[in-house]
């Protein structure tokens, strides 16, 4: 009996919350809010907030062209693999007190899973046999490399700080990281963590390939780069996994640096309505998580999109390996000295 209920619970996790349905709705909504915000910042009216949904369904209704030079299986499967990895990734990120899966070292799993969507785009592009995709994928590889180093350092700094607080050396469990913050206050309130938080904010646009760091998908110079040959449903899946990536990166930031807000929510709810605490708290936490994601997207993705121009790939690389890595390294050093 317990096996069946367990299986059903996990199925619900995967399909509804925080899996596919939640990812689809909130990712697309985030994407739409981002486009609207960029438009408003440029004094335009902008598309409706639901625009990404329209785009998605329209693409599903279009003809899918597979180029003659492409490897059909890889070309069509790559987007699905990327989307699946992206959703699995979301399952590992706790929503304050709620978590679908937990492990001893899920930070490491998250690090690996973050690579898979990028790799799937690269794979799909490489199999499409287009020279534009070739240029795009080489740029994407550089972007992934550039972002990876500071990201690892940020995670290391967080792991060390939380590990110090819990007395376990390094703590690589996202659930523990969030729980520790709910008890002791958010990590962003510590001086030593502020450089890492800023680095993480700068990593978000790079990881999601948004404006100043979108050399890999430069539509004006290399015809959308890696997506040059994609049309119809596979393109829709890519757009969806890009939208989910926005959600993932911002919720990851919340889990790493703003986890303390969850503690506040719990106190508030148990103070107001102790009998219903569990149910209300989770709903409130989801809403707060989404609002935080919106704010983070507004600051990191929309604002930078509106005020910057595209960087060349070597400028991007230099920026990440000097400025961002430097910021993250400061935090690591401070964390190691127990500050």
């Amino acid at each position: 009996m317990t096996i069946i209920t367990d299986a059903l619970t996990y199925l619900a996790y995967i399909l509804i919350f925080p899996g596919f349905l939640f990812c689809f709705l909130s990712g697309m909504l985030l994407c739409g809010i981002d486009r609207k915000l960029v438009a408003r910042m440029q004094k335009r009216v902008g598309p409706p907030v639901l625009q990404p949904f329209y785009d998605f369904f329209k693409l599903l209704g279009k003809e899918t062209i597979v180029p003659a030079a492409a490897n059909k299986t890889v070309f069509l499967m790559a987007p699905l693999v990327g989307l699946a990895a992206q959703v699995v990734l979301q399952l590992f990120i706790p929503v304050f007190s709620f978590h679908a899966f937990r492990g001893v070292a899920d930070v490491i799993v998250v690090l690996y899973l973050l690579l898979i969507p990028a790799l799937s785009v690269i794979l799909g592009a490489a199999s499409s046999g287009s020279p534009y995709a070739g240029v795009g994928l080489s740029r994407e590889m550089v972007t992934v490399l550039a972002v990876e180093l500071p990201l690892v350092l940020v995670l290391l700094a967080v792991a060390k700080t939380v590990g110090n607080a819990l007395g376990t050396g390094l703590c690589f469990s996202l659930t523990d990281i969030v729980r520790c913050q709910m008890e002791n206050g958010s990590l962003i309130t510590r001086l030593s963590m502020i450089p890492a938080a800023v680095a993480m904010l700068l990593i978000i646009p790079g990881e999601t390939g948004s404006h100043p760091f979108d050399a890999a998908e430069a539509e004006t110079e290399i015809c959308e780069g890696m997506l040059a040959e994609y049309s119809g449903a596979p393109l829709a899946v890519y757009k969806l996994s890009h939208a989910v990536k926005l959600l993932t990166m911002t919720t990851l930031f919340t889990a790493l640096f703003l986890g303390g807000i969850g503690g506040g929510v719990q106190q508030l709810v148990s103070g107001l309505a102790p009998s219903l605490a569990g149910g209300i708290a989770i709903v409130l936490e989801i809403i707060i998580l989404f609002l935080l994601s919106v704010v983070l997207v507004a600051v990191t993705v929309s604002f930078t999109h509106a005020v910057t121009a595209r960087l060349r790939i070597e400028q991007l690389f230099k920026f990440y390996w000097t400025v961002v890595t430097g910021l993250a390294a400061i935090s690591v050093v401070l964390a190691w000295y127990g500050l």
């Binding site: 438009a39 625009q51 369904f57 329209k58 209704g61 997506l227 040959e229 994609y230």
Partner: protein, 185 residues
């Protein structure tokens, strides 16, 4: 219901692919004007697509020169169905000031079925938005028709055949027309 959702989305998210077929650049600049804060075509869901494979509406500017003709037709044939072809400016409709030139193979309607013509030299941004709005409606209609017919028609072949047949004919015709129209322009 799902099918209906798709058909409805068709008219709400048209992505443009712009082909310059020897335009004087006047029309191209007007396209940029349409995307500026003042006219902001993005509020209707328009987006400039970088690759023809992702486009729904093909916007052709310029008189379709002989050099550009095969490329224009190739690019159009790469746009997945349903697609709408819109000509912008008087050039692709009639040749405009370039009519009669030895290097012009237009008008575009000789080679492909054009759905919407936006006249003007260069058209006002309002006219462009109006034309594109019409194109959005046609796009949804085409999608509905496609769904009813069930089978998709092969898009690439007819277009390619026409290149081989008609291109030399166009060459022959042009001087005659040029003689007639010379004074008018």
């Amino acid at each position: 219901m799902f099918k209906q959702l798709i058909t409805e989305s068709m008219s709400k998210s048209p992505w443009l692919f712009h082909i310059n077929a020897g335009s004087c650049n006047g029309c191209d600049i007007e396209i940029v004007a349409v995307l500026t804060p003042r006219y902001d075509a993005e509020r209707l869901g328009f987006k400039l697509a970088g690759s023809p494979r992702q486009a729904d509406i093909v916007l052709v500017t310029g008189p379709v020169t002989k050099q550009s003709l095969p490329r224009v037709l190739r690019a159009i044939s790469q746009v997945p169905e349903p697609r709408v072809i819109v000509t912008m400016g008087s050039c692709p409709q009639s040749g405009n000031v370039f009519r009669g030139s030895y290097s012009v193979a237009g008008p575009l309607s000789k080679y492909v079925d054009v759905d919407v013509d936006i006249a003007g030299c260069a058209p006002k941004p309002e006219a462009v938005i109006d034309g594109l709005a019409k194109a959005m409606g046609i796009l949804a209609e085409k999608r509905a028709a496609m769904y009813k017919k069930d089978g998709k028609k092969a898009p690439a072949e007819p277009v390619q055949e026409v290149i081989a047949e008609e291109a030399p004919a166009a060459q022959a015709e042009v001087p005659v027309e040029a003689a007639q129209e010379g004074g008018e322009q």
